[in-house]
C-alpha cells in the first residue's frame, strides 16, 4: 500500500501546547460565566461574533504560527491546534475570523506580496479582518477547475472581474474574498492552467452579496456576484496562472484541523451530562473512541505542519473520517436517549440534536465532498 503517503509520524508531545490549553480553558470558563456567549453546535460556521474574535486576537490566539513582523506569535502548529480544539469543544463563536486565521492568512504568508502581508496579516491576527473562500460557483462545485468567473486586465493594469461565487460563508460580515478566477481561456488539454487567485476587497463597487439560507434558516452562506468589479492590479495573489497549485496547498490547511471532527462536539458534551445507564455509557464510549482516534490523526497533521510538510493526502483522509463521524454522532446519541430533536425543545439535548441534524448535510460537503476526498486517498493508495 502507499502507506507512506497516508501515514504520518506520531505527534510529538508539546508542553507549550498544554500550557496554552490551560489558559484557553480558563478564558472560556470566565467568558461562559460572564454570559458573553452560549454554546452551540457548528459555531465555526454559524457563530459570528467580532467582539469575541477581537478578544482572541488580544490574547495572541490568532495568527499564532505567523512571524511576529506580521502580527503573528511564532508559536507551533501544536499550540495552535490546542487553542482551536478548546474553542470548538466549548462551542464558542469563532466563525468571524475562522477562515482568515485558518487558511487565508497562511495563503497570504506563502504567496502574498510584502505589501499584502504587511497591510492585512496584522489585522487578521488582531481579530479585526475576516475572509471568505471564493472557490465554488453556481455551476462548479466539486469540479473546481470548471469555474467561469473571469478576470481580464484593463488598460490601467487592473483586473476586471465578472462572475459569481457561492457558499461564501459569512461574506456579509467579511472584508476580503480570496477569489479563484480564470485569467486565460480554458485549455481542454490542461484544465488546471489559466487560473489565478485575486485578493478582492468585498466593499468594491460592483459586488453584490445575496444571502443563501441553510436548512435551519440561518444566514451564513451567500452568493457573491461580481459585475465589472475593478480589482487593483497589485491584488493578484501569488503567480498569474498558478491558481490551481495555490488552491491545492490552501486546501491542505482547510482540511486538516479539529473542526473536521468537532463540529458536533457540543452535542456529545450535552449527551455526556445524562449518560448514566450501561447502554448510554457504552454509546458514549464508542463515540469517544472514534473521537480519540481522530484527535491523534489531526495532531499528527499539526506535527507535520510544524515540520514544514504539506500533508494534503492525510488531510483528505482525516476530513473524510472526521466529517463522517460528526454526522454519525447524531444517530449514536438518538439511539441512546428518548429525546426528540427540536430547536424549540426545553431540553438542551433536544436543541443540540436539532442544530446538529439541520447542519449535518454540510459536514461531508464543505471543503471538498467526501467522494472527492476518497478519490484523493485512493491516489495515495496508488490506485489512480
Amino acid at each position: 500500500m502507499g502507506s507512506n503517503s497516508l501515514t504520518l509520524a506520531p505527534a510529538p508531545r508539546s508542553a507549550a501546547a498544554e500550557e496554552v490549553r490551560a489558559e484557553v480553558r480558563e478564558f472560556l470558563a470566565a467568558e461562559l460565566a460572564a454570559g458573553s456567549f452560549t454554546t452551540h453546535v457548528d459555531t465555526w460556521l454559524s457563530g459570528v461574533d467580532p467582539a469575541f474574535s477581537r478578544k482572541l486576537g488580544e490574547r495572541g490566539w490568532l495568527g499564532m504560527t505567523w512571524p511576529k513582523r506580521y502580527g503573528g506569535h511564532e508559536r507551533t502548529a501544536m499550540e495552535r491546534y490546542a487553542v482551536t480544539e478548546e474553542l470548538l469543544a466549548a462551542g464558542a463563536p469563532v466563525a468571524a475570523h475562522w477562515i482568515a486565521d485558518r487558511q487565508s492568512g497562511p495563503n497570504l504568508l506563502r504567496y502574498g506580496t510584502e505589501a499584502q502581508r504587511t497591510e492585512i496579516l496584522p489585522r487578521i491576527a488582531a481579530g479585526e479582518c475576516y475572509f471568505v473562500i471564493g472557490m465554488s460557483e453556481p455551476d462548479s462545485g466539486s469540479d473546481l477547475a470548471s469555474i467561469r468567473t473571469r478576470a481580464t486586465r484593463n488598460g490601467d493594469g487592473d483586473w476586471v472581474v465578472n462572475g459569481a461565487k457561492v457558499w461564501t460563508s459569512n461574506a456579509h460580515t467579511s472584508h476580503y474574498a480570496i477569489t479563484l478566477v480564470r485569467t486565460s481561456p480554458a485549455d481542454p488539454a490542461n484544465r488546471h492552467a489559466g487560473l489565478s487567485q485575486l485578493l478582492v476587497d468585498l466593499s468594491l463597487p460592483g459586488i453584490t452579496v445575496n444571502p443563501i439560507r441553510i436548512l435551519d434558516g440561518g444566514h451564513h452562506f451567500n452568493e457573491v456576484v461580481f459585475d465589472d468589479v475593478v480589482v487593483p492590479g497589485d491584488m493578484l495573489l501569488g503567480e498569474e496562472g498558478a491558481g490551481w497549485h495555490q488552491v491545492t496547498a490552501e486546501l491542505a490547511f482547510e482540511r486538516s484541523g479539529p473542526e473536521r471532527f468537532l463540529s458536533t462536539y457540543p452535542l456529545i458534551a450535552e449527551f455526556a451530562r445524562r449518560a448514566s445507564d450501561p447502554a448510554q455509557l457504552a454509546a458514549l464510549g464508542r463515540i469517544s473512541a472514534r473521537l480519540l482516534a481522530l484527535r491523534q490523526l489531526s495532531l499528527r497533521i499539526a506535527g507535520a505542519l510544524d515540520r514544514g510538510e504539506l500533508p494534503d493526502i492525510p488531510a483528505a483522509l482525516v476530513k473524510d473520517v472526521g466529517t463522517t463521524f460528526e454526522a454519525d454522532v447524531i444517530d449514536e446519541v438518538r439511539r441512546a436517549v428518548d429525546v426528540p430533536a427540536s430547536l424549540d425543545s426545553p431540553d438542551p439535548l433536544g436543541r443540540a440534536l436539532a442544530e446538529a441534524q439541520l447542519h449535518a448535510p454540510g459536514y461531508t460537503l464543505r471543503g471538498g465532498t467526501n467522494e472527492i476526498l476518497r478519490g484523493i486517498v485512493a491516489r495515495g493508495l496508488g490506485l489512480r
Partner: protein, 355 residues
Amino acid sequence: MTSSDVDLVVETVRDILTGHEPFVLTPERPWDAGLWSALAEAGLTGVGVPEEAGGSGGELADAVAIVGALAAGAAAVPVAEQLLVAAPAVLAADLDLPAPEEPLSIAVDGAVTAEPRDDGDGPGSWTLTGTATDVAWAGVAQHLAVLATSPVGPVLALVHVAGREVTAAANLAGEPRGSYVLQGVTAPGALLTGAQAEQLRARYALARAVQLSAALQQVLAWTVQYAGERQQFGRPLGRFQAIQMELAEMAGEVTAVAALVDAAVQAVERGESLVLAAAASKVRAGAAVEVVARLAHQVHGAIGFTQEHRLHHLTRRCWSWRDEAGTETAWARVLGAGLLGDGPDALWPALTRVV
C-alpha cells in the same frame, strides 16, 4: 537490545515468517509449533523481558513490533499473550518467570478462586479452584497466568498446565480458546490491588488492539494489491471509482486505528494510566473490523470467501479478536464511565488526558 533495533526485529520476524505460511487451524494442528521454535531460537519469545529474568531484553516497543508483525502474518503462536500480557504481569507480581521458549498464556475470564496456603502476604502459595474459560492457546501453552479472586483480593497465580486436561474450544479462526478445570491446584501466586488487576485486563485488551491494528493494515494492503491485479471489464478493479471509494474508506479506518493504538502504546511506555487508552484502542479497533473485513471480502469477491485464499486467515482472526480480552461493548462502557469520572461536565478535559 535497544529500541532503535525495532526495524531489525521486525525484519527478523518477517524473515522467519517467510518459511512459515499460515494454515487452516484444526483441533489436530491448533498452532504453528515450528514457527514458535524458530522464534524462540532467535530469542524473540523473550523480548521485553530483562536478561537477568531469563529474557532477551528490549523495550515494550520491540515486543509490540514483534506482535504486530506476527499478527499481520496470521502467525498461530501465543506471542501476544506471552510478550505483552502474561510475562510482564508475572514479572510485576515478582513470580518466577518460566523459560521464554515454554509458551505462557493468560486467563482473565471464568471463575477461579484462590485460597492462601500460607500467610498470603506477597508472593506465596495458593490453592486454586474453579474454571478458567476462554483461555487463549489452551492445550498449547505450558504455563498459564491465572487472574483469580481470593478473600483478600485479586490474585495472579502461575499454573503449570502442560499435559493438563482441556475442554477444547476455538475462536472463529480456529485458534484454541478452551477451558481448564482447576480443582485444588497448588500454584505460586501474588496478591494484586484492584487497580493492578484492572491494568492487567487492559493490557490484554491493548495486546488484542495491537494485533487488530497490524492485521487490518495487512488486510488493506492485500486488498489494494488484489484490486490492482484483478482484471474485470478489461481493466483492474482498482480503476473503478466504486472500488476506489471502498478502499479509501478502509484506509480511513485502518489509519485511525493505527494512530490511536500507537498513541496508547506510547502512553504505556511513558508510564501513564493504561485503562482508558487501552479501552479506547480496543473499541476503535473492533469497530474498524466491521468495515475493513466487510469491504475486503467485497472487493476480493468469491475467491476471498474460500479457504484457498489467504484473506480468511486475517479476517476470521479479526472477527474474533474484536470480541476477545473484553468485548467492544464491555470496554465501551468502561471508557464511557471512566471519562465521566470527574463528573458529567468534565468530559472534554478527560478526553484530552486519555492519550
